[in-house]
Point group: C5
Chain length 268, copies 5
Amino acid sequence: MNRKDHLTIIGLGLGSVMLLWSMTMGSELIIFWDFASVIITIGGSFCALLVNYPMKDVKNIFKVMAVSFKDSPTSGIETINIFTDLSKKARREGLLSLEDEIVTLEDDFLKKGLQMVIDGIEPETIKDIMELEINEMENRHNVGIGILKAWGGYAPAFGMIGTLIGLIQMLAYLSDSSAIASGMAKALITTFYGAIMANLVFNPMSAKLAHKNEEEAAVKDMMLEGILAIQSGVNPRIVEDKLVSYLPPKERKRFKEAKIVEGVVEGV
Amino acid sequence: MNRKDHLTIIGLGLGSVMLLWSMTMGSELIIFWDFASVIITIGGSFCALLVNYPMKDVKNIFKVMAVSFKDSPTSGIETINIFTDLSKKARREGLLSLEDEIVTLEDDFLKKGLQMVIDGIEPETIKDIMELEINEMENRHNVGIGILKAWGGYAPAFGMIGTLIGLIQMLAYLSDSSAIASGMAKALITTFYGAIMANLVFNPMSAKLAHKNEEEAAVKDMMLEGILAIQSGVNPRIVEDKLVSYLPPKERKRFKEAKIVEGVVEGV
Amino acid sequence: MNRKDHLTIIGLGLGSVMLLWSMTMGSELIIFWDFASVIITIGGSFCALLVNYPMKDVKNIFKVMAVSFKDSPTSGIETINIFTDLSKKARREGLLSLEDEIVTLEDDFLKKGLQMVIDGIEPETIKDIMELEINEMENRHNVGIGILKAWGGYAPAFGMIGTLIGLIQMLAYLSDSSAIASGMAKALITTFYGAIMANLVFNPMSAKLAHKNEEEAAVKDMMLEGILAIQSGVNPRIVEDKLVSYLPPKERKRFKEAKIVEGVVEGV
Amino acid sequence: MNRKDHLTIIGLGLGSVMLLWSMTMGSELIIFWDFASVIITIGGSFCALLVNYPMKDVKNIFKVMAVSFKDSPTSGIETINIFTDLSKKARREGLLSLEDEIVTLEDDFLKKGLQMVIDGIEPETIKDIMELEINEMENRHNVGIGILKAWGGYAPAFGMIGTLIGLIQMLAYLSDSSAIASGMAKALITTFYGAIMANLVFNPMSAKLAHKNEEEAAVKDMMLEGILAIQSGVNPRIVEDKLVSYLPPKERKRFKEAKIVEGVVEGV
Amino acid sequence: MNRKDHLTIIGLGLGSVMLLWSMTMGSELIIFWDFASVIITIGGSFCALLVNYPMKDVKNIFKVMAVSFKDSPTSGIETINIFTDLSKKARREGLLSLEDEIVTLEDDFLKKGLQMVIDGIEPETIKDIMELEINEMENRHNVGIGILKAWGGYAPAFGMIGTLIGLIQMLAYLSDSSAIASGMAKALITTFYGAIMANLVFNPMSAKLAHKNEEEAAVKDMMLEGILAIQSGVNPRIVEDKLVSYLPPKERKRFKEAKIVEGVVEGV
């Protein structure tokens, strides 16, 4: 799976195209490029992050950014279908028969949980271990959300620092007109870079990751509920009913309609 | 029903007229129009929203904005009158007689609740299902409120980005006076667009939706209370007394005065 | 009663005089007047309020502003004296004798409560009804406090929008010097109007109303306690002791000193 | 006692000297003085406070500011020593013997508490009365902290209003160069005054008062504990142990070292 | 131990190099140096801190800043290894045998706890005393975090005050071009200094200290758990299991892998 989050890509791509197009209206694009400004804005704000965060958090920052380009690996409806199949099989052929199914599953969390069921571990222990894992996932995500938000705050600040450097240079050499151009370019370009980094990249990405975090945690809660239901050997229909209550209203409706169609086809 | 919220329309209309009038004072209106600025401010901030929110939320944004132009579909006083009639009928002719009334009702939430009463479903189950529906409605509204607020934050930010583009262009071609005009126009016009979008449109609309959300949730709470009262078969007068306590003081007064007039006319 | 809150009047008056005086230092006052700026700043921000709030809240805004010019109708010490007299009379001549006193009272809340006591309504019912009324009063006040705060936020925003209009006009007609004057005047005058509206009028008024709200709620809590004490027929001296504990330390001291003087005079 | 808080005085003094010194670098000091600017910034922001706060709070504002120049009247270590002496005396000669000691005490809170012990008032009553007094002290302080913070917010706002007045005046008389000087002076000087008032005076003072408030409340809690311990007649050593646990770690260490020295000297 | 936090040093160092490099692009470095600006920005904001905080907090500020350059003294994995060894020894040779080990330990908190175990103090008392110590450490750290954050707020404010001084000087001597240079230099350089102090030094350092605080508190919680486990004489393997649950997932994995390697080598 690991489908792409097309919206993040479209947003960043379309936003860049719009900005580039309007930058070419009435001027050449090259006037918006300044290497020293890149160093001050991106480099400077990254240095502030190094002071701000411990090593183990900074190391993950690019992995974290990549996550906002990926769609949530498992959707709610798929998860319900998986569990309906698994619980039917477990009822007919016993819990041990799930061993063959585990190999075909893609989600590590789900695999681990089912393996524990097959190994005959106590439900309380399974619950404790898997809830701890969900908590750990949320903490890991929150660090990523926080570090992107912090970068989104330092970027405009270092943009302003670059602008001040440029203005001071310009004022010091008022008589030399070439220095004015160089100074003012850095002056406004750093603020420009900082504003784009914060408002098109870091702040929206940080918010997107927070949405994904909520969604993934909800799917994992659903999986835990399903695993415990299979272990307790309840009716597959009840397993399905329980999991459906985790879906948002729209998906619930779509799921029910799909069931009806399926029911008609299956002749149930 | 679905009456219009005249205040939202008047506020937006009158505000636009005032701004347009003052823009024509001492200049032609055309100087405030710049296509590239529209692209940067509206387009750019919308791209940031695409990065910020998942697909299912962004898709609803125009539907959400339309809601702030509509009045709450059902008012408190009407709801009380409906319930007084329904409870009288239920008392005289039995709960099943309500079946004919349901067809004439306009509110889906009310219809669903009464249908469950006629179907003889347990009060606890009715309460659970309908409270879940109220919760879902509030969650749906909160997403809409949040997305408008986020747009109201990104709009001025992209206004500032556009201003920076314009200023950098102007500084790069200081010798060419026509470029100055083009540059400065974009420079300030984007900030101008962003400020109006945030302060006349998105922020007030987001706050209006929050008010509507509270009001609708209160009416639905009232309906749930009324449905459960009808099911338990209490006296119509007590049903009315219970529901009146949900009204704000002014409406309560108006309702009582209307009752007295009615009482005199009816000779009660 | 309905005494004026001299401090609000003095603050607004003195503040205006100071500003006007410094505006006349080195220039004529007329340069600070611009009709279009009034329209943009006051009119525009009021239109944003129309979009922001439902009709029933906007309608009350001028009534709400008037409240911040009035002093709290009843003070704590007066209230204690009223209750000491009432409880003495109730003890000597019975609860029904209070009927004559009610006519002379000015506070509607107090009248309503005592009438219920005379009518022999249960203490629990009186408590419920009067606490509901206190809650409603606080909600009503909070809407007023919120709407003034919102206006205090929109006013500087529309001041900035007006400034942008003025700057864009000025830039468009750089060659025409009379347009510069007109443009720049609007430009800064709207920001000036918005800053005064927010910092001298709306924000301080909103805070003053919040103080008044707390005070009035405290007096009403005191009245409720007093009414219930009279109904239960406790000793007038105990009624007084109970109510005194609601006073802030300074007023408590003043009240005790007044009692001693009175005691000496009365020869008690 | 009432020792001075040297740090507040040093901070304000040294800060003023630094600012004055840098103001004299390359210019005469007189250019930073403008009477109209004082009126707008200090007078205007004070008028906003008059609208913002009720009379009884505004009246105390200068008394409140004076407090931030005074050190906390009683330190923790002194308080422990006082209580060790008092509890020894109470054990040897009885509670009534404390009457002579009270006269020599400087703290009113402590005097009142011990007087109640001598008068034989119940421990619960003493606790209630003295906790009420601590609460009242904290409320009184919080009003002072809030009013300084509010002034620290209005001062820069009125600084900006003064700057706008100056800029508008300057723009209106562009042809008259003497008006420019007068206008621009007021323009920036008011912002300058407002920034200093907020960042060197009101905001830091407000924070200092909050620290003092916490400290005084801790000392009073300690006194209350000590008074109740004396009343219950526990061993002086246990009184001391209890009170020591209220000290911050550093003072605790210092206190213990002092005890050892004392012990050696006393030969205990 | 007391290893250095290389990230803080790298962040500050690399950030400074980047800023210095871009400052030398197109100008000499000397134009960014102004002694009066250092006095206003660093000195002025430090004076505001003196007014803001009590003596005992201000005294520690440089010690606090030094902490953000040091790595946490003890890591989780080391701590577990120490406890595994200690609990093995305690089991074989009795609690008193730990006396020899204490001398070799570097952590004072750990030493104090083990000494109490050897001295036969009750588990509850040990827990109380050591939790108090953890609390005190956190309070001490929070004061440091708060004071750096406050400095990070006052620094840009005094940067702006310096800028205003420079602008006013420049306006007063418009005719003297050398004064303009001096005035404007101070004007922008102070804002530049203030922005760097806040965004590269104080704010990130304050956040780093907050991370360190959390980490150290977690290690100390782990130590307390280990000390109590040794005292109660549980199996060394269970001590290890308990402490491992305090590690973050990554370290837990690394610890387990190290154990396996060790196990193979040891032939267990």
